[in-house]
Symmetry: D2
Subunit: 350 residues, 4 copies
């Protein structure tokens, strides 16, 4: 009953098998191997166009490097108040992107609204050098609140950004979960909707450490080889990261794993909606569930072996929590078993 | 016949087995798992004292973070002219360590001499704020030239550094190869000889991506959790890195792997010394071999399937190369087979 | 009728006289002159204790260096939403302070409330390395809204900050105007109320370029010589900056100049309160006036020779502006003449 | 008898007069004043073409910003071993230019030779991302050794740099002294010889703080407004810097001041050549004199009131100093009097 995070899960057997195969042979270091070349081609197929791919070790690296690639001195990036780049990366964007700053846009359920982005951009004193310069918008798909932007919402945000010359970055730590929910192709949800760069996460969905910065706009890719190298994120045995992605994409494994995680979360949501001992904090369609229940119940669930986190969130205060209640995050992953969900719901119902 | 680099080798089966075991279970993210805890304890045993351990993805990360930990504004680090931090990390130290600069000390065969370090430190205008401030010495063991500092040499360098208040960092990308050669314990070659921080490499010696920044001086460890996090080098599934190290240390695997690599290099050196078609550029005791032979011979070896690199090095001009000669680097790894060495020597002899 | 800013004013004759005297002699460069030594001693007298003084060229430099001195990796500084460090320095704090981030606290009339600061600090996940670490609070005195913190308010903010180990920085670009208003000593308004570092501005109050970073906590001063030097803010002819300060402090000139500016602003406020053609946006006690009037009237005033700025401010939307109204900032300086105020009010009344 | 440095001199009366005139009026802040506009036009006349001008407070700022403007991630700048950017700016280039690194080129008498620059550039592994990327060459005119590059030498260095896509920066802290010596126009010595950016110094030659970054290549100027602002080097009362330059250029004052300084140095050189108690370390044509004499004599000169510095320099060891000798630097400025030179020579002769 581990719902702490999808990065508490292990790894899919196919991923380990790929590592084992790769282990038995020699191959070019620093991204020059055949495996790297194959997986770069595979990314082009997945995105149905030429893309530049930069494998890195963590999502924090991918995000920071993406915003560095789009950066300029005094640069400012718009993102949601609760976004990972703001809350969970210890200033990683400022490190990679020469001191870039994040400007926060509030929004319900982890999503920025186009009108709020437009207002923020328009209110910015463009050309006023004291203020700095706007360089990018970063949106998270699926969001930190477990919600998913529709393709129209992404396009609306991208259009506004592009009208003002800003690049658009998608933090896709859970991109597969979002894609499965939308039933869209990777192309439709990204560059066809105006995205310029994607942090494409594999780690949370069954890999051990496999993240890719995928760049659609070749201008934005020019400096990335150097940015990645100096950040220590070009791995000498990069081909072991590539091998993970190769297995991840083979036979649609990545979408199957994400589909399972989403289904497990749905099973949990169904159970929570059917009880009066807990309630959903807000609706989520992918593999994250945000629920409100009593701290006593939380204790009881944990005593029975469940693991999950209380959650800080900008919206928490507006949820009308009772004194003995708290907001909890429960995440399903590729490794979550239906049995675990059912047992959790049983304990909850007792 | 792949002698390109020890990071062109794959991974030891025991490492993959450990990943497979870890894959089947849940575990704390971001270094909080039992596996992480066990491996931290293991590092204390390996070093025979309490140490702080920070797992990271690459040696470039470990080096940059180590020198950031020892850093101060306007900071200057002494290192060898050919050191990895200077030549191969794209400015990574400056990124992590707030613009720290490297001051180069020349030295034969990749090693700094104590008297040259002393002279450089003494010549520095201490307290002259225009010049900056000296913060650390970084030495590489085994060195980029494949040589190994004796323990007395390390102690001599450390003593000089400490007399002036500088921290001492060891870039140990090939630390196991050096240890095996010296027949010393990890403690003897590091903190007992005055080292304050070690970039402890596992990747080149049979892991897929396992590097550890090991800190002996607790003062230097205080900011590292934050430095590592913002650099994107705290891995969510850190326990897969920890698992590699656990297998690496089990039953002395790491020393066996390094011992094999060293022995294979020795076999190659023996063969090269026995022929007049090539000569050793300088003596090396561990797993790297630097040789001089004709470009024609290089072409013939490659045509027969051998792979290795021409090598840039500050000392190259003093080697008295003939016009048709070049300097080549040949590296043996845990995966090098005696057959490969022998075949290489046969082709060379034809 | 120039009310654009106090930095549109020229310089007091005494300041120029001091420069002329200094021009005629040789003196030590980079802060080693007798003039520098005398003015450092003068700062100790002004603040009634030993202080470390770092002369720099601009307030942006003083602020960035102050927050760098208090910085740590992944550092976060609390400041008001409209503070100069956030709005007007193009990311200068991030540059000087190794990527430090600003977290904004809203507050009426440009001032943070102690309870809001306390709530923000308490809500921060201390020790959660993903979030970074809180390093400082920066407050502006007089504030960007022309208001002035009382000594009790400063102490309340400082106490909260210190309880959590944060340093407290005062951006004193208009510190003299605030001091005159409060009738307090420099000591009372700063270190006696818990301030650790002050950006002490002279430029806006009659100097040509004279800013000082004054540090009360010796620990925070240790790295500043290097931080200032690498920022290019240790001036070779520093003694011309020192000479300005010497003249500035002589015979209480600085307080006289600020007193005049405040009085001129008060004359303007009186006039605005007496008319129904304009209203004060909020009360201000020092040399800045924020007023609401019609854009048509603004045009008429400008046509008559007045100069002043429309003003962006977080509070603007809550002022209930009519469609044809705007928010304007009018600043009096040491150089403002009563005649100018009176003429402005006359044009306004016509 | 103050020969410590040209920045120990005061300021020319015309400079102070200009400040006094500017003090009496209001004017646009942050470079928007009429005075700023006039002086920008004046720079275009001086350089006989359109230029972008950025006034800053110090040469360290101008240098760092110039190399930031030409920078790219992992950037490397070639400069002389003894250059100011390397030796005297506490890592300022790394701060402003996102961690850029300096690679040192040795050369007699403070000058890089074209063949050495060519060799260094050609030896660099272009496109090898581990190594970083070459972005600029920075040369100092007059050099730190008091020598002056001929126009042909500048063109030779620039041509080599441009062939490889590197920008060329001139650190012109003593540009006027070099121009007067060469009898060339500012255009001839800079952009006509291939220079892309100039740190144009006024401070050492009679101003109090007036430095300008002059950019010939518009592409390189694009980000400078932001780079300067975030560095705290856009001065609110920028017009007082502009006023200094206006007076500096009026009636050729700048060239007269530099001509005087050079002539005084020549007088000193003549005297030193005529005695056997001292010798010139190497020939210099502008306002700096490097001499070798005994420490005892140095003590006697100082006892008589002379001030000057022992000098560190890469070439010092090759000067064949006797045990009781040292290398001394003596600098003449606009304020040096012939009497002082003569008295110095008299004391020396006694």
């Amino acid at each position: 009953m581990n719902f702490s995070s999808d990065n508490w899960a292990g790894a899919a057997p196919q991923i380990i098998d790929a590592l084992a195969r790769e282990a038995g042979r020699f191959g070019g270091a620093y991204g020059t191997s055949d495996t790297d070349a194959r997986v770069e081609k595979r990314f082009c197929e997945i995105f149905d166009r030429n893309v530049a791919v930069f494998l890195v070790g963590t999502g924090t690296a991918a995000n920071g490097l993406a915003l560095a690639a789009a950066g300029r001195p005094g640069g400012i990036v718009f993102c949601h108040t609760d976004s990972h780049v703001e809350v969970d990366e210890c200033g990683g964007v400022a490190l990679q992107a020469d001191g870039a700053r994040l400007r926060l846009i509030a929004g319900r359920h982890g999503k920025m609204r186009p009108q709020d982005l437009a207002a923020a951009i328009e209110a910015f004193p463009h050309g006023h050098i004291h203020a700095g310069q706007l360089t990018a918008v970063s949106l998270t798909q699926a969001s930190e609140a477990g919600t998913v932007y529709t393709i129209d919402e992404i396009r609306a945000l991208s259009d506004i950004a592009h009208q003002h010359g800003l690049a658009v970055h998608m933090d896709g730590a859970r991109i597969a979960n979002a894609l499965v929910h939308l039933g869209a192709t990777a192309a439709e949800m990204t560059w066809k909707a105006g995205i310029d760069l994607v942090s494409f996460g594999g780690t949370k969905n069954g890999c051990i450490a496999a993240e890719a910065l995928v760049v659609f706009n070749p201008d934005l890719a020019a400096q990335l080889p150097y940015l990645r190298m100096r950040a220590g994120h070009l791995f000498s045995k990069s081909r072991f990261m590539a091998a993970q992605f190769e297995a991840y994409f083979a036979d649609g494994l990545w979408l199957k794993l994400a589909g399972h995680a989403n289904a497990m979360a749905e099973r949990l949501r169904g159970g929570l909606e059917a009880t009066d001992r807990a309630r959903l904090a807000w609706p989520t369609p992918a593999n994250e569930v945000f629920a409100v229940f009593s701290k006593g119940l939380a204790g009881r669930l944990r005593a029975a072996g469940a693991s999950f986190h209380e959650w800080r969130f900008s919206e928490k205060d507006s949820l009308g929590l009772a004194d003995d209640e708290d907001l909890f995050r429960l995440i399903a992953s590729f490794a979550t078993r239906a049995d675990d969900i059912d047992r959790f719901l049983e304990v909850l119902a007792q």
